[in-house]
């Protein structure tokens, strides 16, 4: 019995070249993926997102924020989420522990906001009168 070999030397060599090229491309792709993962890790290291809870009129809602995010941005997001609130000019965010309202132009980091903090969305003034 004889076994026929259809592959001649030329086609085998071409296949080997093709394989080598594919292996090279795979290696580059794996390197690119690793690089991308590292970039994502780096981004998370410098700008990690965290969660805070905002309380308005007895209702709590959670928000994903970044330390570099402005207080104003979180305030706007909260007003949208609890709204529509058509005249929100007297509303501000306050730390759970009380004290001054968080300043709009500060970042959350500068304002001392930490992961899992509870912030109060409430009016700064409530008053009434007949004159």
């Amino acid at each position: 019995m004889t076994i026929e070999n259809d592959c001649d030397d030329g086609s085998l060599k071409a296949a080997e070249e093709h394989l080598k090229k594919a292996e090279g491309e795979l290696e580059r792709a794996e390197h690119d993926v690793e690089k991308a993962i590292e970039e994502i890790r780096e981004a998370h290291h410098h700008h990690p997102e965290f969660e805070v809870t905002v309380l308005y009129d007895g209702v709590k809602k959670k928000f994903e924020v970044k330390p570099e995010e402005l207080v104003k941005k979180l305030l706007e997001k909260a007003i949208q989420a609890f709204g529509p609130i058509p005249n929100p000019h007297t509303l501000a965010l306050y730390p759970e522990t009380g004290g001054e309202e968080l300043k709009d132009d500060e970042t959350l980091k500068q304002a001392g906001v930490k992961p899992h903090d509870l912030l109060l969305l409430r009016p700064s003034k409530v008053k009434g009168g007949d004159r």
Binding site: L55, G58, R122, V126, G129, D130
Partner: protein
């Protein structure tokens, strides 16, 4: 239209508080709250810490902060703000500008004559925040059902 259920006892206690705190000389505020699990129920009257005088009142900010936390703990919301006027009941520019809640649908009730008249809504004024943020008078009977 859905109406809030106001226990007569809560209404009576609100008038008692207005009379005791205001003494016929100072404006006073009350807040009607209820659980979020039953959004049309009013279960409690709250008497905020405030400074009051003949022509107005201002809530204490420290009290407001603690009350906000308490609402969160109790899972309750503010249904109405109620306050007195020395004479005629209406919503002043100050009332319009500084409510405790700013959402459309929030209701503000004004009781005339420092609440020294009969317990009820005679000559009272009810107004509601509209979607554009303006206040609009609404019929008391359309929003409140005394139980």
């Amino acid at each position: 239209m859905s109406r809030f259920r106001l226990p007569r006892e809560v209404l009576t206690r609100t008038f008692e508080q207005f009379r005791k705190c205001g003494c016929g000389r100072r404006e006073c505020q009350a807040l009607w709250i209820g659980p979020w699990s039953d959004a049309l129920a009013i279960t409690e009257v709250i008497h905020p810490k405030h400074s009051g005088h003949m022509g107005g009142f201002t809530l204490d900010e420290g009290w407001l902060h603690q009350f906000w936390l308490e609402l969160g703990r109790k899972d309750c919301g503010i249904r109405f703000q109620v306050h007195t006027h020395p004479e005629e009941a209406f919503h002043s520019a100050i009332d319009d500008a500084y409510p405790i809640i700013h959402k459309p649908g929030f209701l503000s009730l004004v009781i005339p004559d420092f609440a020294l008249g009969p317990i009820g809504f005679e000559k009272a004024y009810l107004t509601e925040i509209q979607p554009d943020g303006r206040w609009k008078q609404v019929a008391i009977g359309e929003r409140i059902n005394i139980t």
